[in-house]
Structure formats: structure tokens, C-alpha cells
């Protein structure tokens, strides 16, 4: 028995390359930023500091992202969520918080290539020229919720698992050769 990603690592190569990756380990952590022990909990779980508003802090294959004023997304290897939850529980014992594994609730895509932003610019009302490195942007991709951030090679995009094939369809449509924006 082994866990499978939503689309079995589907891929498409147009003017940018689209890959469905994952599953990644993900934990949704709901806590106020001033909660005692929060920094320790996040450090223990993914080894990063508490991300600032709209930022994602990475640490190798782990990361922590700011999702809302009282919610963080912790990313880590799929098999390590149990240990991370235990570490969070230890650090936040007696505090008001919520931590749940959501690795399986998500689908993750990589959009890579020099024109990767053009694929997303067709789908999301986001000013990509102003999107900062390490900015975690939650928005809409066509008709579904999505979150993404960029690195040197491209973008990582997270959406709900049930709409993974819709997302793949959107990205494929948008990355067709000949439909570059510039």
C-alpha cells in the first residue's frame, strides 16, 4: 500500500512545463501569532521561523507559509506529519491551537520555465510582476481556490485534491504552445 498523488504525477509540456507532484506532507496549524510556544512549535515541526504576513519560509524540503492571521501551512515530507504533529502538541501543550494533517486534501503542481508566470496570469487576478520572492499568494485560479509561490525555477501551486484534474486542465490549456502572452 502506498499513497498516491491525485493525478499520478501527470505532466504537460507547452511553452512552460506543468508537473503534478506530491503528495507533500502538509499540516494546517491554526494559532494566533502571539501564541506562546508558536515559534518553538513551527521550528520543531519544519525548522523555520514563524512566517511573516503573506510569506513562506523554506528550509530544505520543509517550509512554513502564512495563510491567514491565525493560520499557517507547514510543508514537510509526506511521512513526517505524525512526528511533526507530536512536536507541535508538545510545544503548544495547554495552548489554544488546532493542528491537522491535510496532506491528502491537496494537490500540488510545479509550473516551470521562463514564461511560467504567463500560464498563471491567464488564470489568476494577480500582478505577477509585483509578486515578491517568498510571497505566498492565495487567490483564485479560474473557478477554484489556489495558493502559489515562486522560486528561481518556477512556481509551486497548491489546490484542493478533488479539483486536481480541473487544475491540470486549466494549466494545460494555458500553457499551449503558440499562446504565449509575449
Amino acid at each position: 500500500m502506498s499513497e498516491v498523488s491525485a493525478l499520478n504525477h501527470a505532466k504537460f509540456d507547452g511553452f512552460a512545463s506543468i508537473r503534478e507532484i506530491g503528495p507533500l506532507g502538509m499540516i494546517t496549524l491554526r494559532a494566533k501569532p502571539d501564541l506562546p510556544g508558536l515559534a518553538e512549535a513551527i521550528r520543531a515541526a519544519v525548522g523555520t521561523e514563524v512566517p511573516a504576513t503573506r510569506r513562506i519560509v523554506t528550509n530544505g524540503d520543509k517550509a512554513a507559509g502564512w495563510m491567514s492571521p491565525d493560520e499557517y501551512l507547514l510543508i514537510l515530507p509526506y511521512g513526517e506529519t505524525g512526528a511533526a504533529l507530536a512536536a507541535i502538541a508538545a510545544a503548544l501543550k495547554g495552548q489554544h491551537y488546532l493542528a491537522e494533517t491535510v496532506s491528502d486534501a491537496r494537490a500540488v503542481f510545479r509550473i516551470e520555465g521562463a514564461k511560467a508566470d504567463q500560464v498563471l496570469a491567464k488564470l489568476s487576478p494577480v500582478d505577477f510582476a509585483r509578486l515578491e520572492p517568498n510571497e505566498l499568494r492565495r487567490t483564485r485560479a479560474a473557478q477554484v481556490a489556489a495558493a502559489f509561490w515562486k522560486d528561481e525555477a518556477g512556481y509551486t501551486l497548491v489546490c484542493f485534491r478533488s479539483v486536481a484534474s480541473y487544475m491540470m486542465g486549466l494549466l494545460t490549456h494555458s500553457a499551449q504552445n503558440g499562446s504565449e502572452l509575449v
Binding site: 491551537y97 496570469a121 473557478q143 478533488s162 486542465g169 494555458s174 502572452l181
Partner: protein
């Protein structure tokens, strides 16, 4: 005749011949031609028929204002009606057909309407076709409808693809003429992010055609250098073939890019809809020339003067050998000069002004062109083609002084700035008496989210009509736009040689004293056949508002939306009402500027990605089994799993029977699952649910109901207490997102000091209902945890493993059978589902779908949100009072339920029904009561809410609401049928099956 000249043509490539067809006739044009230019080059002046009178129509203009020359293009899945030939780029293989005629363009039977035109004035249909009444439906309307429309309706699914894209900028410049380029240069130099849109394939607009001299050189050279300079600026994006379609609130602009219209089938998207968010919008959209209203001004060969010039200069196409120019301004002289320079004849320039001065007339005169001042055209001669004009005195009534033979007429009634985009979001206009046009009133601009002006009009679009003025105005506007978005800009305009033009003179009717007969031949709206006489009739009849006149006469309602006709029409209206033009005002400008393809507006949302389709982890398995799926919100759930040869009904019944006797498996993954955690979570859930959840012991489950604040039942589900601070709330499949949002709404907006967090983990888990007498056997076979009655009794849950899968098992039942709902991580869902099937084969496992689920719950008398409830039903109506706490001081909906009508004992309440003959009560049926109400409607006393054939009981069963509810048990009532009959049924207990729950508590 119209023809291709041997020299010139700034936009054509004579070495690249293009073949195309018009009405099946093979023709040749050149690369760079518009379809209009190519048609004219082939002497195809007649291109269509008008809407109402089917009069012959020729090309009038050279741009998007063209009202006449619309054709059907392409074929099959690429057929497109109403394509404007003046904005269509010619390509090899283009196929065009003219429209709105039968049997042919040259001979059109519909032209009979033309002979009857006198009896068909504006709004005639409001005054007739009324008697006898039946004749409207059976005679008149079918005729009117059959004659409706212009182009043919496409038949096929569109073969092309479309897409949309977002863009952001500080300054959006719409229009790539010299004003737009100048504004972009200034804004670009400031460092602002600039996007420049041009609707055609070429930069520069009219200036190169008009012979403007900029920075001492022909405009073409300056345009080239400006585009090069802009191209080098990293902060500037240039986009041709992109039409600014509409300005919307808060700086949102829609633009349509025609990517592959001229290269159909090359695999690229046909159109791309841009959604641009701009800090400031600079409209450099130029101006549109107005026709003059003289008798016969609609005869093919009568064209706008500047358009004639466009064809000559841009495409080396002459619309006629002998062109009479008629004007009220100096600009039209440019046309005469251009024609003359091209070696064509200009027999006369008819100028309505008594005094003709200015540089351009002087040049024309010097070239030997005859100028007739104070003159007018009394009448154009010709039928399908101009043959000549009759000349009269403008100040008179139209007595003919002279006839001049010609095959084209170039007319100019002055210029109207393109103010559409300025006006879309509320920008106001001011009447400029010098140019007799409306231009943007800079003191009343459209405003944005900050209350600041968001559109700046420049150049011709702002009433700056000469090249020099336009450039200066555009530099100023471009700088203002950049400064408004926090950049420092320098107002630096290119200089243009100023040509002295004498003032134009407003001429709305030619000749001024024309009588009724002439006015009935003066066209305002060429496509819709609205004449001067029609507008005057509307005014006479009291349709005095410009909106009334427009609607009564259909002036400006054609596909050009009045680009040529509006100002002329409202001038006539103002004259008729004896009012000033600004008092009459304009009709509202609405997007889009020119029509936008619907496919582009739908963008990528077609076919597979029309809408998100949510899939459970087992979705692929269901599809592979040929499940018949039904939409549940955006999910697809198996309705049933028919086997070969089975109807859906048969397969549903098989699934019910098998589940009741052996074992059924249901994919319940779509059920909402929301974690609620925190010190105040219990208190919160007690407000949310009608019952008490705070005292639910850890490890146990409880059924709960949620109401909205009105008191109406909105969702239900089983709640499990996970630990001291944590509850897991199950919602209906459709309810997960809605209920999660509902929870967050109350937590964020009302009880924000309560310590509660929620998390919607619906998609984290796949969930399977293992249902039936053999359920436990299957789980025991998989092994890994104790699922015995003792360890895991009804309404409890436990974590563990089954067959190696990490699971959470709930002992809950929606079917009345022994039942376990088992959650596993979604990524293991498919594997777990298959493992259950494999291991369950010996126990008679079958999957079942939503319909079997519904039947089994109905057999047990369980309510279903959406069936028993419809947004007007309270829990008390459904005999669910037991699930409502009497002790709690408050819960959402409690106050609402205290209102008179909701607390009334007269409300319809739930009961069961069995038809006397065993048949199934019709879905949606009402229970009739005696008599009729005050409105003559039959009285009712209840209605069915769920009705099924029960394969278990082998008869029809139903649940429904009835006045008196369970007190009516034993009564026989009548359900109505749509055909007027009734079905008799006995009121019974709604629990039809296993009333004591013996089967589920094992």
C-alpha cells in the same frame, strides 16, 4: 468603378497576392488589405442589404464604425456571421458571403419593403398588427420574426479556442495613433508601467493618411521611431489587434485581442480577452467622421470622405473614378487632394459653407478642383451604385441647379470624438460648438475606488482635432496619468506642422429647407433604416427623450451602436424639439466599444474545464464501472452502478436488496467533515446546533440539526467528540463549504472572543459506508481492530487499522442496517475501496449509489436535507423536536422559530403515506383540500417530499408534509396529478422499515 491603383498603398504588399471568395466568386487581394479594401479593389461596391427595407448597401467607412458591410465568414465550425469587412484582415482562403437577402445580393425579394417604406415609418409596428388578436401570433409575428436578423445563425460547436489573461499597469493607453503613442512616450519615460493597445494591426492611426508632418518629417517616420522607442522601454508593453472594449469600475478594462482571426486554424487561440487593472486609463481613441444627411446618402458609392482617403492612401484602392466631395469642413479637402494626387477625378467639392477659406481649400483650388461654396447635394442619383449628384443651394429647399455625373461621393459632416470608453463608467460630456461635437468634460470624469478621475481622454478623443493639438494634449494627458500613479513625468510633446483650418459649420440637414419627400430619403442609421423623417416623427409623437427616440425608431441600435448615426440623429431631434443639442443629451454608452465574441467572454471555460468537476479518490473506479453519475454540487456521485442489460431502476433496486440482505459499499467521501476545536468549542456548537453537543462524551457520536437565523433547517449530520477540546462535525455533501463558512462567519464576526478554531478536512479523507448484515464480517476479515458490538456499539467511533489501512470507524447508519462509516486518508481511498471489494466478494459486496441510499433512508423515515427541507421547513415540522434542546437559552434560529407563523400549530408536518393501490405517489404532488382560495386556486393541505418504490416493501412509499401531521394517521387523502387527477393514499407512520431499529443495533 472602384479599382486598385497602380501606385501607392502604404499598408499593402504588392508581391503577396491573396486569394479569397465573395459569394462564391474567386477574387484576389493583397497582403495588408482589409477585406473591404480587397472587395473595393475588385469593384465589389454592393456588399449587403439593410435590415428593414433591404436596400442595397455598400461600404461606407474604413473602420469599426462601418454599419453596412457585414458578411458571413468561414464555414462549418468556423462560420461567423456579421463580420465587419472594414476591420477584417484579408488572408489567403478567406470565404465571405453577403447577408440579409433572398435569393441573392443583386436580386433581393425583401426589397419590396423598400417600395412600401412609406407605409413602414419608425415605430409603425406599434400601431398595427393588432386586429384580429389571433393574427398577431399566427400571421404578423411569424412574418416579422422570419425577416429578423442579419447574418445566418451558426450551427456547429465552435472549432476555435479562446483564453483570457490578466494584466496590471499604472497607465493604460487605449489607441495607438499619434496621440496614444505620444501619451505612452511621456508616461513610459516617467517609469510608470504602461500598456498600449491598438485595435488594428498598425500603429499611427490617421496621421500618416492625413499627411501630417511631425518633427519635420512625415508622420510615418515619427510613428516608427515612437514605436521603436516604446519597444525599448522595459516598462512598456505594446499590443496590436487589441480593442479596448469597455471601462468598468475601479480601473478595470476589458480588451479583446484578435490573435488568430487572420490565421484561422493555426492552433493559436482565436481571441484573448484581457482583463486589465489600470491605475489610470488614457483614451486616445480618435474620432469618427459623421455622414451628412442628404437624400440618397445611403446609395452604394456614398462614403465617408476620410475613409475614401484611407482606401486610396493605405491600400491604393480608389472607390470611384469620379468622386464628388461634399463637406461642411476643411478636412474633407484632404480627400479631394489625395484623390487628385492619385490621378483620379474630383468633379467638384460641394461645401455647405458660404465662405471657404483655409489652407486646404486653397491647395485644392490650386490643384484645379472646382469648389462650390454654399451648395448642397439635393439628391444622389443611382440605385445599386451612385451615378451622379444633383446640386442645390444649402440654404434653400433643394431646387436642382445642376447634375454632376460621378461614381462615388465622399461626404464629411465633421468629426465626433470617440467618447465611449470615457462614458462607460459615468464620464460626462460637454458640447463643443466650434466642432459641433460632444467631447469629454474633464471636470466630470469617471472616478475610481479613491474617488479620483480614472480616465484621461487625449487627442482627437478629447476634441484636440489637429495633429499639433493632439500631440500636445496627449503629452499632457500621458504625464497627468503617470503623475496620478506617483511617477514624475515631463510634459514633452512632439511638434507637428500646424495646418490652418477654417471652422466647420454644423449642417444637420442638406439642404437646410428640405421638404418631407427629401427627408424621407435621408438616412441616419444605414443598417436599421432610420431616416431624418423617422426621428422627426418620433418627436412629433411625444417620444421626446433621446432614449425614447432611439427605442421608438431603433436609431443607433444596430451593430455599430450608432457610431455614425447618434449625433446626427439627436441633432435632428433637438431641432424638432426646438432645443439645444446638449439639452437633449446622448443615449448611454454601454460596453463593448465594438462587439466582442461570446467565446472570448467564456474564455477557457468550455468542455472539460467548463466548471471544476470535483472527484473523490474513488471517482476513477466508479467511471471504470460505468456508474451513472449525478451532479451533487460540483461533485459527481454514482447514482447507481447498472450492470449490463439493467435499467437504472432495476439496478437501484438490486443495490437496495443486496445491501439489506448482504453487504453494500457507498462512497461517502463527499460528506463534509469539519474539525471544531478549542476551550469554547462546546459552547459554540451548542449555539450552532439545535441540540446540545457540549456534553457529548469523548468517543461518542450524536445526530445534530443546524438552522439559519430565520429558524429554517439548513443542514444535518453526525457529530463525533474526538477529545476534550475537539469535535468532528459531519455535514451533508453539499453543505461542507457552506457550513464551514457559516461557522467562520459567526466566529469572526459575532463571537470573535470565543476560543474556537475550525478546519475543513473534507478532502483529507476518503469515507466509505460499509452497510448490511455482513458488514462486521467483512471488517473482521480485514482485521486490525475490534469492531464488535461490545467494543464499538452504535453511535460510537474508534481509531485503528483495517487490513493495514489507518482508519477511523464510526458506527452510524443512514440505512437502518448494521453500518460502519470508515475514513481513510484520501490518497489511500482508492486502494481501501478496492480492498473492501476484494475481501467482501465472499459476503456479496456490491457498490451502491445515491438513489439506493435515498430509498433506504426513506424506508427508515430518515429526512434528507433538500428533500424534506426546502428552506421553509423547521425541525419541528419534521417531528425532530427531540433534537432541539428545550434547556438552551439560545441557539441560531431559536428566535426565528418563535415568530407567529413558525410557531403556529397549523403548520404542515411530516407523516408517511402509502397509496391505496400500492403505486408510487407522483414526485412533487400536493395533497388537495376542499374548495378554492380567493384567487380561484385549488386549496391544498400538504405535499409529498420523498416518494419511491420500496424494493424492500414492494410498494410505493412516501414522506410528506400534511396539515395535522401524525395526528392524521389513518386518514385517506388525495395527491394531485399534473393531468388533473388524484391518487388516494393513507397517512401512516413515516418509519416503514424496522421500526424498532433491531437491524442496526446488532
Amino acid at each position: 468603378m472602384s479599382t486598385r491603383l497602380s501606385r501607392g498603398g502604404r499598408l499593402i504588399d504588392r508581391s503577396a497576392s491573396q486569394e479569397f471568395s465573395f459569394n462564391g466568386k474567386k477574387l484576389r487581394g493583397l497582403k495588408g488589405d482589409t477585406l473591404a479594401a480587397a472587395l473595393l479593389a475588385n469593384d465589389q461596391m454592393l456588399v449587403g442589404r439593410s435590415f428593414k427595407y433591404h436596400r442595397p448597401r455598400g461600404i461606407v467607412a474604413a473602420g469599426p464604425e462601418e454599419p453596412n458591410a457585414l458578411v458571413g465568414m468561414g464555414r462549418g465550425a468556423r462560420f461567423e456571421p456579421n463580420q465587419r469587412v472594414t476591420t477584417t484582415e484579408l488572408f489567403n482562403g478567406l470565404e465571405a458571403q453577403s447577408q440579409n437577402h433572398w435569393p441573392s445580393l443583386e436580386f433581393d425579394v425583401g426589397v419590396i419593403n423598400n417600395s412600401l417604406a412609406r407605409f413602414l415609418p419608425g415605430g409603425f409596428y406599434y400601431k398595427t398588427f393588432m386586429y384580429p388578436r389571433a393574427a398577431w401570433k399566427h400571421l404578423f409575428e411569424p412574418i416579422i420574426r422570419a425577416s429578423a436578423g442579419l447574418g445566418k445563425a451558426p450551427k456547429d460547436r465552435d472549432a476555435d479556442r479562446y483564453e483570457q489573461a490578466y494584466a496590471f499597469c499604472d497607465v493604460l493607453v487605449i489607441g495607438g495613433g499619434i496621440a496614444g503613442l505620444q501619451a505612452a512616450l511621456v508616461a513610459g519615460a516617467s517609469g510608470a508601467r504602461v500598456i498600449v493597445l491598438e485595435q488594428t494591426a498598425h500603429w499611427g492611426g490617421r496621421a500618416p493618411v492625413d499627411g501630417d508632418v511631425i518633427e519635420g518629417a512625415p508622420a510615418d517616420a515619427w510613428v516608427k521611431s515612437a514605436v521603436e522607442a516604446l519597444g525599448k522601454m522595459e516598462n512598456v508593453t505594446l499590443r496590436v489587434r487589441t480593442m479596448g472594449a469597455g471601462v468598468y469600475d475601479h480601473g478595470y478594462v476589458l480588451a479583446e485581442e484578435k490573435i488568430a482571426d487572420h490565421t484561422p486554424g493555426d492552433g493559436r487561440p482565436k481571441h484573448r480577452l484581457w482583463r486589465i487593472r489600470a491605475g489610470r486609463i488614457v483614451t486616445a481613441t480618435g474620432a469618427i467622421e459623421r455622414p451628412l444627411s442628404f437624400a440618397g446618402n445611403d446609395i452604394p458609392g456614398v462614403m465617408l470622405a476620410a475613409s475614401v482617403r484611407d482606401y486610396v492612401v493605405n491600400f491604393a484602392v480608389s472607390p470611384g473614378d469620379r468622386t464628388v466631395v461634399v463637406t461642411n469642413n476643411d478636412d474633407a479637402y484632404r480627400t479631394a487632394i489625395a484623390l487628385k494626387e492619385a490621378g483620379l477625378e474630383v468633379p467638384a467639392i460641394i461645401d455647405a459653407r458660404v465662405s471657404v477659406t483655409g489652407d486646404l481649400p486653397a491647395r485644392a483650388r490650386a490643384m484645379g478642383i472646382r469648389i462650390e461654396a454654399g451648395r448642397a447635394i439635393a439628391k444622389v442619383k443611382g440605385g445599386k451604385r451612385v451615378t451622379g449628384v444633383a446640386i442645390c443651394i444649402q440654404a434653400g429647399e433643394g431646387s436642382v441647379l445642376e447634375e454632376i455625373a460621378c461614381d462615388a461621393v465622399a461626404m464629411s459632416g465633421g468629426w465626433s470624438p470617440v467618447v465611449h470608453l470615457w462614458s462607460h463608467c459615468g464620464g460626462k460630456l460637454v458640447w463643443d460648438t466650434t466642432h459641433a461635437h460632444f467631447r469629454p468634460d474633464a471636470t466630470k470624469p469617471p472616478t475610481n475606488q479613491d474617488g479620483q478621475a480614472m480616465v484621461i481622454a487625449v487627442g482627437n478623443a478629447n476634441g484636440a482635432m489637429s495633429a499639433a493639438d493632439a500631440l500636445a494634449d496627449a503629452a499632457k494627458g500621458g504625464a497627468a496619468a503617470a503623475e496620478a500613479t506617483s511617477f514624475k513625468a515631463e510634459v514633452k510633446a512632439a511638434s507637428a506642422t500646424q495646418v490652418t483650418e477654417a471652422p466647420m459649420e454644423a449642417v444637420w440637414i442638406m439642404p437646410q429647407g428640405a421638404g418631407s419627400a427629401l427627408k424621407a430619403k435621408m438616412w441616419l442609421d444605414y443598417q436599421n433604416d432610420v431616416k431624418v423623417s423617422d426621428v422627426q416623427l418620433a418627436a412629433r409623437e411625444g417620444y421626446e427623450s433621446v432614449e425614447h427616440t432611439k427605442r421608438y425608431t431603433t436609431l443607433g441600435m444596430a451593430t455599430d451602436q450608432g457610431k455614425l448615426s447618434n449625433i446626427n440623429g439627436l441633432a435632428i431631434l433637438a431641432q424638432s424639439l426646438n432645443e439645444d443639442i446638449p439639452q437633449v443629451g446622448t443615449t448611454t454608452f454601454r460596453p463593448p466599444y465594438t462587439p466582442v465574441t461570446l467565446g472570448a467572454l467564456a474564455g477557457e471555460s468550455r468542455g472539460e474545464i467548463f466548471q471544476p468537476l470535483r472527484k473523490t479518490p474513488m471517482h476513477a473506479w466508479h467511471e471504470a464501472q460505468n456508474a451513472y453519475m449525478e451532479p451533487v454540487g460540483l461533485w459527481r456521485r454514482p447514482y447507481t452502478f447498472p450492470r449490463a442489460g439493467e435499467t437504472h431502476e432495476q439496478s437501484v433496486h438490486r443495490e437496495v436488496n443486496n445491501t439489506r440482505t448482504n453487504l453494500g459499499l457507498l462512497d461517502a467521501s463527499t460528506l463534509g467533515k469539519i474539525i471544531v476545536k478549542g476551550p469554547d468549542a462546546g459552547k459554540f456548537l451548542d449555539m450552532l446546533y439545535t441540540g446540545v453537543m457540549s456534553n457529548l462524551p469523548v468517543g461518542k457520536c450524536r445526530y445534530g440539526l443546524m438552522c439559519n437565523e430565520q429558524g429554517f433547517l439548513s443542514d444535518d449530520g453526525v457529530v463525533a467528540r474526538i477529545d476534550e477540546e475537539t469535535w468532528l462535525c459531519h455535514t451533508t455533501s453539499g453543505g461542507a463549504d457552506r457550513i464551514h463558512a457559516w461557522m467562520e462567519d459567526w466566529l469572526q464576526c459575532e463571537w470573535w472572543d470565543w476560543k474556537v478554531y475550525t478546519a475543513n478536512i473534507t478532502e483529507q479523507l476518503a469515507q466509505v459506508a460499509v452497510v448490511g448484515p455482513n458488514a462486521r464480517k467483512l471488517l473482521e476479515k480485514l482485521g486490525g481492530m475490534d469492531v464488535s458490538k461490545e467494543t464499538l456499539p452504535f453511535m460510537q467511533w474508534a481509531d485503528g487499522t483495517l487490513g493495514g489501512f489507518p482508519v477511523r470507524v464510526y458506527r452510524i447508519s443512514f440505512s437502518g442496517e448494521l453500518s460502519y462509516e470508515i475514513a481513510v486518508p484520501a490518497s489511500l481511498g482508492a486502494a481501501f475501496w478496492e480492498a473492501l471489494h476484494k475481501a467482501g466478494a465472499e459476503f456479496g459486496t456490491m457498490p451502491y449509489g445515491t438513489e439506493a441510499l435515498h430509498i433506504m433512508r426513506a424506508e427508515k423515515g430518515f429526512i434528507m436535507i433538500g428533500d424534506e427541507t426546502d428552506g421553509t421547513v423547521i425541525p419541528q415540522d419534521l417531528n425532530l423536536g427531540w433534537a432541539i434542546s428545550k434547556k438552551k437559552a439560545d441557539f441560531l434560529g431559536k428566535r426565528g422559530q418563535e415568530r407567529n407563523y413558525l410557531a403556529s400549530p397549523d403548520r404542515w408536518k411530516l407523516a408517511g403515506f402509502e397509496t391505496l393501490d400500492g403505486s408510487v405517489v407522483p414526485d412533487g404532488s400536493y395533497i388537495v383540500a376542499a374548495g378554492h382560495n380567493a384567487n380561484g386556486q385549488g386549496n391544498t393541505q400538504g405535499r409529498v417530499t420523498s416518494t419511491y418504490y420500496s424494493p424492500t416493501l414492494k410498494r410505493g412509499i412516501a414522506m410528506g408534509l400534511i396539515h395535522g401531521g401524525l395526528n392524521r394517521i389513518g386518514d385517506v387523502v388525495e395527491f394531485n396529478t399534473v393531468s388533473g387527477g388524484t391518487v388516494k393514499a393513507k397517512v401512516v407512520d413515516p418509519v416503514f422499515y424496522d421500526k424498532d431499529g433491531a437491524k442496526q443495533n446488532v
